[in-house]
């Protein structure tokens, strides 16, 4: 039994897209997607809504092994028509678990110097968008600096984000997801552990 997708694709995806657009154009702000989609096992509502909004037959998606062969993989193929790929570097979108050791952000498609837009957008599912160690963000979309405190990121993830930012204009774009909430961390954002 595959979980349902959008009941009103035109307007639900429009609203979700605006939340995603704000998330990535104002990094660090907490954006909510309307929790109208009961997500399949292994995906949060925010992840499921983002994928329904953005993924289709033109966008290969990478999922962790456990999700790929489970209901989430079937749900994604059915509703989005997306190809689920084995190799992180082939993915337009990827969903990873914030605490899993692999794959590293650098394993995904980082884009090319002539086409940096071809990089993967990585959705990182974490334990909470608040309550974790504080990170200070700066860059486009941020007047001055902005603090976030995501909970449940693997050790060294801040370094991965920093290394990803150092590749600018190449690099992946990250969305932290929990429940119905999303925080965007595009490659243009500089991330430091707050002091």
């Amino acid at each position: 039994m595959i979980a349902p997708g959008f009941s009103d694709p035109v307007f639900q995806s429009q609203a979700a897209f605006r939340a995603l657009l704000t998330a990535l154009s104002e990094p660090g702000t907490l954006q909510q997607v309307a929790g109208e989609v009961p997500p399949p096992e292994g995906l949060t509502a925010a992840t499921a809504t983002a994928l329904l909004t953005l993924a289709d037959y033109e966008t290969p998606v990478w999922l962790p092994e456990a999700l790929r062969s489970g209901p989430a993989g079937a749900w994604l193929r059915f509703h989005c028509g997306a190809t689920v790929v084995d190799k992180p570097a082939e993915a337009a979108f990827a969903v990873i678990d914030g605490m899993a050791d692999e794959p590293k952000l650098s394993a995904f498609n980082l884009g090319t110097d002539q086409f940096p837009d071809r990089s993967t957008t990585v959705i990182v599912q974490i334990a909470g968008l608040e309550g974790g160690p504080a990170l200070t963000l700066a860059g486009p979309g941020i007047p001055g600096s902005r603090n976030i405190a995501p909970l449940g990121l693997r050790p060294g993830f801040t370094d991965e984000l920093r290394e990803n930012g150092a590749l600018y204009p190449l690099g992946v774009d990250v969305l932290l997801a929990h429940g119905e909430g999303l925080i965007g961390l595009p490659r243009s954002t500089q991330v430091e552990e707050a002091r």
Binding site: F11, Q14, F17, L54, A55, D117
Partner: protein, 307 residues
């Protein structure tokens, strides 16, 4: 051999909300997300053939169609004015296809689609500017081949642009580019601000609004997230400067707005009026009066109404 509805059928073929099909919107939305992640970089996208002519705003229309929803209020301007024919035509398009709520008031709009101007009233957080762009490549006049300009952006090789600007200084004593004046975005990409007058360039810098740029014919989308550094290219000894006029707006007396020149007779008579029609009307409603308001009524620009 198309499979189409013959006129005998009573069922009118229906267009999707905001004209574009959902797959096309997804493709544009993905391009927009990459565009905001790399400010100033031109993302290629699968620009569709639209029912309006190429070069007449099809890039901006596609972006607006991918953005707009029932919660939005749309303002469309051309040359700063809401009542120019192409602005009217595009506004009508969204009223018809997306049942869009529209407004001429800058502060009420959530989406402002524009050709050639940024409104005078400061933009706010949460507003989205959608620019219609004819030639997205700022280096195109220097190098016509896309394969070459793409490499120049990849390697941030912008020496040619500096040379071109400097040649103009050597010849005329200043940079003679008055519109579509190139900018450096976030210290990385040289970007075309679209053919806005350079008067408007400073409004882009650190704007609280999200700014999106669509070039339909050239199939490119690019973006400036809010609070992004946008610097007009210049030289230390020849700093960037904007246009100024020796007289204020003849209708509302504004001294801080971009002015259009209206020829009022064949004897060299001129009147200068705000290009931003809503700004000018707002000021007049507040009681500001320019010195030529009466002449303007005579030449048919405005009408006197009895209160």
């Amino acid at each position: 051999m198309t499979v189409h509805q013959m006129p005998a059928d009573n069922t009118k073929p229906a267009y999707n909300y905001a004209y574009l099909d959902e797959q096309t919107k997804r493709m544009i939305r993905r391009a927009l997300l990459k565009a905001v992640a790399v400010p100033g970089y031109q993302v290629p996208f699968g620009s569709r053939e639209m029912p309006l002519a190429r070069g007449w705003g099809t890039g901006g229309i596609q972006i607006t169609a991918a953005l707009i929803g029932p919660a939005d209020t749309l303002k469309v301007i051309d040359q700063g004015a809401d009542d120019t024919t192409n602005a009217v035509s595009i506004r009508k398009f969204f009223e018809r296809t997306a049942d869009a709520r529209t407004s001429e008031a800058t502060e009420e709009a959530t989406i402002i689609q524009t050709r050639h101007r940024i409104p005078e009233a400061p933009l706010k957080s949460g507003q989205v500017m959608v620019y219609q762009v004819p030639m997205p490549e700022p280096l195109r006049k220097l190098e016509p081949r896309e394969a070459e300009t793409r490499k120049m952006h990849a390697w941030a090789e912008y020496g040619l642009m500096q040379v071109k600007l400097y040649e103009s200084i050597a010849r005329f004593g200043e940079v003679t580019t008055t519109y579509d004046y190139p900018v450096m975005v976030n210290g990385r990409y040289v970007m075309s601000p679209s053919p806005i007058p350079k008067f408007d360039n400073p409004k882009m810098h650190m704007s609280p609004a999200l700014q999106l740029f669509g070039a339909g014919r050239e199939k490119r989308i690019y973006a400036l997230p809010p609070y992004t550094s946008v610097k007009s290219l210049d030289f230390e000894d020849h700093p960037f400067r904007i246009q100024s006029w020796t007289q204020p707006c003849g209708l509302c007396g504004a001294g801080d707005s971009y002015l259009d020149e209206v020829v009022i007779d064949d004897q060299g008579g001129r009147m200068f009026v705000c290009s931003d029609s809503h700004y000018c009307e707002t000021r007049r409603a507040e009681g500001h009066r320019g010195t030529m308001l009466g002449d303007a009524a005579a030449s048919g620009l405005v009408e006197e109404t009895t209160p």
